[in-house]
């Protein structure tokens, strides 16, 4: 089993290298640093000197892959690829266009992101699973049908609508919480409660429906019939047998997103003015700050791969079939 996990972790390395090469190609090969400079400086009044200056400022005045003018290891290290792309493996993301250290920025912004994303995730998980269990318990009745119909309607509504109408009704009409803002201290509760509630409601439709499908698939299996033939009550069947087995497909979708919670949510953070990684990303996109976007792409996939490994670990905990083989 340990070998299995080790193999999964080793498998992550070529993937990360792939991500790194992909971002490098996207940011430096599709458009040359010259193009970016021209774009940043404004297309019309750009001079070759200005481009050179911009490139020098941002460290883009080196060859892409191989520096023939340098010698020794510098041939490789004194290049854009080495300094901008490969360095990300050491979690060194360089500096943003406004001259800040991206790594430090990420470290300070993870907290606020997590303050919204983690409660949303936990409350959501409990809420969706309970709702789905309820529909499963009353399957093929009017209650179940109504639940499914509600899910379909809820998942047909844009997340933007939940945010905008939530802010309008709760903050503007009822004045219950501030429209936006963030406070890391104890007073921060009033800022995070609405984003969390909206985050939970936002995916109640699709998630509950998905869990319901999983539960229904489980409940049609033979071992459930066995459990019933033992005289167990429907609730005992549901909680002791079905839920335990359904954990496996549920984990597949759930564990993988846990590390990504650090990244926060783009929309929620930008609407509610939360100084997290989500709003950082969106600001970078709007300011066309490529270094930050590049850093976030790499960080995102790193966290996703950590999530995949965590998923594998969680299987070995929940599923004896994985643990024992």
């Amino acid at each position: 089993m340990l070998a299995y996990l080790l193999r999964r972790i080793l498998y992550a390395v070529p993937i990360l290298i792939g991500v790194n090469l992909l971002t490098f190609a996207l940011f430096f090969v599709v458009n040359t640093p010259d193009d970016m400079a021209r774009m940043q400086l404004g297309i019309k009044r750009v001079t070759p000197d200005a481009i050179e200056k911009w490139k020098q400022q941002h460290g883009y005045d080196k060859p892409l892959l191989l520096n023939n003018t340098a010698s020794g290891t510098e041939k490789i290290t004194n290049t854009i690829f080495w300094q901008k792309s490969a360095s990300m493996f050491a979690l060194d993301f360089g500096y943003s266009d406004d001259g800040r250290n991206i790594s430090r920025e990420i470290a300070t912004r993870m907290g606020p992101s997590l303050a919204i994303a983690l409660p949303t995730f936990l409350i959501g998980l409990v809420a969706y699973v309970s709702f789905a269990l309820l529909m499963t318990l009353f399957r093929a009745t009017a209650l179940d049908m109504a639940g499914v119909a509600l899910c379909v309607v809820l998942m047909s509504i844009s997340f933007l609508f939940y945010i905008i109408s939530g802010q309008f009704v709760v903050s503007k009409l009822w004045h219950l919480v501030p429209i936006s803002g963030y406070d890391g201290g104890t007073g921060g509760f009033k800022f995070v409660v609405l984003p969390i509630v909206i985050g939970v409601i936002g995916s109640v439709g699709s998630s509950s429906r998905w869990y319901r499908t999983i539960f229904l698939e489980e409940i049609g299996k033979d071992y459930v019939r066995t459990a019933r033939s033992k005289g167990l009550s429907e609730l005992a069947v549901l909680f002791r047998h079905v839920l335990k087995n359904a954990m496996i497909p549920v984990l597949t979708g759930v564990v993988v997103v846990i590390p990504l919670l650090f990244m926060g949510s783009l929309l929620t953070e930008s609407f509610f003015g939360i100084p997290g990684l989500g709003s950082y990303t969106i600001d970078a996109i709007n300011a066309q700050d490529f270094s930050v976007v590049r850093a976030m792409v790499f960080l995102g996939s790193l966290l996703y791969i950590v999530g995949l490994i965590l998923t594998d670990i969680s299987y070995t905990i929940v599923d004896p079939r994985v643990r024992l083989s």
């Binding site: 992909l22 379909v152 844009s158 929309l267 969106i282 590049r294 976030m296």
Partner: protein, 455 residues
């Protein structure tokens, strides 16, 4: 000629999709077993009603895809000069809506602007009041009559629509009755929809039914124009995802070995990047390319259009991995099926096994995932446009509408109609698509299949 047809890139792709759709339909019609699940879809009331709604959206989108340029009156040395503005047949139909622009915001069905302005009356006195609209309710002498007029027009429009709907229903009834379609639900839906359309048409001739936006454009017009953008994002993306996912998915599952390893590696790398970030990165890079090569485009429409096509391309490249994984898994199962081994024992070539045996037996997964993805893509467009990596800001879409209207949230009293109609249209479109997708999944998923074929 007084006009010249223009085929934008996205138009060409839509026509390509339409042609392949028609070809598929023709093929399915000739194969009884392929038709069978569609019959089950046709028996579901929700599916058929949502299909009716969807086809109306589709009609609007298609009309909006037939583009042309109008010839200008002055000629340049005998050569006809065409206006740089690219119009569509749909624009032509909506000419009053398109051309009747006000100065700025006005509420739905209003006869005056939303904000007070200084107006000098005949006596030269300057007053602060709500100025009358140029077009909305211009036929009324007195704004007091607005309520009655709206009621009268709404009612007469609804009645006319109802009558038209009844005619359509009577005409179609005979042909549909035999096929076991849910007639009653379709009838009710037809009447309801035609009454609403009738009402909108009658009101729209003299009012801004859904108000106007900041620059005075009719919100109804904007919403209707957004349909095409949404549909294109939802469908043209398929042109990218489908071949990629299908070819790579079944190749990985069938050949296994190093081919499988390479394909798995590619899609794991792609799917490990959070999709919004990957899209953002790709769109930013595309923007740089477009901005640094202004000479590629002869007008703004083609520029916005190309950006839309590229957005579809990027969405496609980032979203084929899920379907690919599904198809790979299914192919792994199928390749162990005995009929594949029977074919192998005849020495049938791999290519033939893939096309004759594997592909037809995974098509239901492809179809289900395509209809399911459609609504997700329509919703994604709005979010991406908000994030700033969506369609060109000059292109009318649900996303750009929401983005523009959102800034006015803080206004007192609030300008709500642009947001409301964008969300409303989107909800109807996505809900219909979701309901239809559900029915398709129910009809095509073999795991849910009933025993009716066993006999």
């Amino acid at each position: 000629m007084s006009f010249m047809p223009v085929i934008l890139w996205s138009d060409a792709l839509v026509f390509l999709l339409l042609l392949s759709g028609i070809a598929c339909a023709w093929y399915v019609r000739r194969h009884e077993h392929l038709l069978l699940p569609w019959r089950r879809v046709a028996q579901s009331a929700t599916a058929m009603v949502s299909l009716l709604v969807l086809s109306l959206f589709l009609l609007a989108g298609l009309l909006d895809t037939l583009h042309y340029q109008v010839a200008l009156p002055e000629k340049n040395g005998g050569e006809t000069v065409y206006s740089p503005e690219v119009l569509s047949v749909f624009d032509k139909l909506l000419t009053p809506l398109r051309t009747h622009t006000e100065k700025t915001y006005s509420a739905p069905l209003a006869v005056t602007l939303y904000t007070k302005e200084s107006i000098s009356d005949v006596h030269g006195n300057v007053l602060r009041e709500y100025p009358r609209l140029r077009y909305g309710g211009a036929q009324l002498a007195d704004i007091q009559q607005q309520g009655n007029d709206v009621l009268r027009r709404g009612l007469s429009g609804a009645l006319a629509g109802l009558a038209a709907g009844l005619l359509i229903a009577l005409g179609a009834r005979r042909r549909l009755a035999k096929r076991g379609w849910p007639l009653r639900a379709l009838l009710i839906a037809t009447l309801l929809i035609s009454a609403i359309i009738g009402m909108f048409i009658d009101l729209a001739t003299s009012y801004h039914v859904l108000g106007t936006d900041k620059v005075g454009q009719d919100v109804l017009y904007l919403s209707l124009k957004s349909i095409r953008t949404g549909l294109i994002i939802g469908t043209v993306t398929t042109l990218v995802t489908l071949p990629l996912a299908l070819l790579l998915g079944i190749a990985a599952g069938y050949f296994r070995g190093w081919i499988d390893d390479v394909i798995q590696y590619i899609y794991t790398v792609l799917s490990s990047i959070p999709s919004v970030l990957l899209i953002a990165a790709a769109v930013l890079m595309m923007q740089v390319t477009i901005d640094t090569h202004p000479q590629w485009f002869n007008n703004s429409a083609s520029r916005a259009d190309l950006r839309l096509v590229f957005l579809c391309l990027i969405l496609g490249v980032t979203s084929w991995t899920g379907l690919c994984r599904l198809l790979r898994g299914e192919t792994l199962k199928l390749r162990e099926m005995e009929y594949i081994q029977a074919a192998q024992s005849f020495g049938v070539s791999s290519l033939r096994i893939l096309t004759r045996h594997i592909m037809p037996n995974v098509m239901h997964i492809v179809l289900i995932s395509l209809v399911m993805d459609f609504s997700a893509l329509v919703l994604a467009e709005a979010v991406l446009s908000y994030v700033g990596v969506g369609v060109d800001p000059s292109m009318i879409s649900f996303g750009t509408m929401i983005n523009a209207a959102r800034l006015e949230m803080g206004r007192e009293p609030m300008v709500w109609w642009a947001l409301a109609s964008a969300f409303g249209f989107m909800l109807v479109l996505v809900l219909a698509a979701n309901l239809f997708a559900d029915a398709v999944r129910d009809a095509f998923d073999p795991r849910l299949n009933r025993t009716e074929v066993a006999a």
